[in-house]
């Protein structure tokens, strides 16, 4: 599993010059330039060039760059891929991933472009967005389809349409969230939850964040910079959690120095998963501070 924190993935329309020029100031963990649904058909060419140049700006340090390309089955997908791999994008997000073969087809093209432009083969990572019943049913095969995959993301709008339902209190996403999450955990990659569309409903947003955090998601796709701080704070550990995590890590390190196989803290055994979790808590505290 990656050590990189991926709590917030901010969506930006690839055709919006102002947002592409300034979004780095919001410091999300990942920034996702969208060439697909947020861009009208007649602006696909313009958005591709804007994103190509935006990716080359020296402002993204500490922020993972992701581009959602158009599906390779459309007239735009391959040109998008050529542009963003050559521009040095860190992660290509494939929309509407229904099968493992979709990922493999993408991977083959990415490798061809890497070889062609002299980029290190394997350096372009992939993320698969699951947006249909087929994708959810095939989530495990998708999650294990490529070593380049850093995560899978559930995309709520298309999924609920495919399921002939609509967005509500989360009941409609219950199975899909659990299926995607289990597939990601089995494959040891990250899992990202859907966007929360109503940017003025802070309470509803935080309720959903609490749910997906407790389920085990790494993070969430966001459509407004205002949601970043709320999300990071919700993912920040409490002071008590940080304190306990510090003591667990200290005990584990002391045990390691003494060559102990099993370590205990206050009479309770702490095993590897507890130590791993404590390190995650400390990483989150380092990135977000303590929950306010």
């Amino acid at each position: 599993m990656s050590n990189r924190l991926r709590r917030s993935m901010l969506f930006l329309p690839g055709s919006n010059a102002a947002m592409l020029s300034t979004a780095y100031v919001f410091k999300p963990d990942s920034i996702m330039f969208d060439l697909e649904d947020a861009v009208s058909l007649r602006e696909k060419d313009a958005a591709r060039l804007l994103v190509f140049h935006a990716l080359r700006l020296p402002v993204w340090e500490g922020i993972e760059t992701v581009v959602r390309i158009n599906p390779l089955s459309t007239p735009f997908g391959m040109a998008d891929l050529e542009a963003v791999v050559r521009a040095g994008v860190e992660v290509v997000r494939l929309p509407k991933t229904d099968t493992a073969d979709d990922v493999r087809a993408l991977e083959a093209e990415v490798e061809r472009i890497e070889r062609d432009c002299g980029r290190e083969v394997g350096s372009t990572k992939l993320m698969a967005a699951i947006e249909s019943a087929a994708g959810v049913v095939n989530a495990l095969a998708i999650a294990t389809s490529s070593k380049r995959l850093i995560g899978i993301a559930l995309a709520g709008f298309d999924y609920v349409m495919d399921m002939q339902t609509e967005r509500g209190d989360g009941t409609e996403l219950f199975y899909a969230r659990c299926a995607v999450l289990h597939a990601a955990r089995y494959a040891k990659i990250d899992a990202f939850d859907v966007v929360f569309g109503d940017i003025n409903d802070e309470e509803g947003f935080l309720k959903e964040v609490d749910l997906i955090k407790r389920l085990g998601f790494n993070g969430k796709s966001l459509i407004n910079p205002r949601q970043i701080e709320l999300l990071h704070n919700a993912f920040a550990p409490t002071e008590e959690e940080v304190d306990y995590a510090r003591r667990v890590v200290a005990a584990a390190e002391a045990g390691e120095r003494q060559g102990l196989g099993v370590v205990s803290l206050n009479g309770k055994m702490i095993d590897a998963p507890v130590i791993d979790h404590a390190r995650v808590v400390l990483r989150r505290a380092e990135a977000s501070g303590v929950r306010k």
């Binding site: 919006n16 010059a17 102002a18 592409l20 020029s21 300034t22 060419d45 313009a46 060039l49 804007l50 190509f52 140049h53 935006a54 080359r56 700006l57 040109a79 050529e82 542009a83 050559r86 521009a87 432009c117």
Partner: protein, 97 residues
């Protein structure tokens, strides 16, 4: 490459620019309007000229209305306008970089 038709790219929103390009024989005419023309006019024109030069465009009328765009946005909008104004466009990503 040769400009064979009129084309537009970009917007008049802040941090963007609108580029209008049209065929014209006998050299390159660049008309630039910008809210920051006194501070950055020469820089913007240099980016426009360099971008056109790298695309092999040496004839045409190019009208730029700048709204405070970064150089990378200027490049992207000029390239988009040219791609829409020529007969056959194949993206050469090395030349576009």
């Amino acid at each position: 490459m040769k400009i064979v038709r009129e084309a537009l790219a970009g917007t008049l929103e802040s941090s963007d620019l609108m580029v209008r390009i049209a065929p014209k024989d006998g050299g390159l005419d660049i008309v630039l309007e910008s809210e920051v023309i006194h501070q950055f006019g020469a820089q913007i024109e240099a980016v426009v000229r360099e971008t056109l030069d790298r695309l092999g465009i040496d004839e045409g009328l190019v009208v730029v209305e700048d709204k405070g765009a970064l150089d990378c946005v200027v490049r992207a909008r000029i390239q988009t306008a040219v791609s829409r104004a020529v007969d056959e466009w194949t993206a050469d990503w090395r030349a576009l970089a």
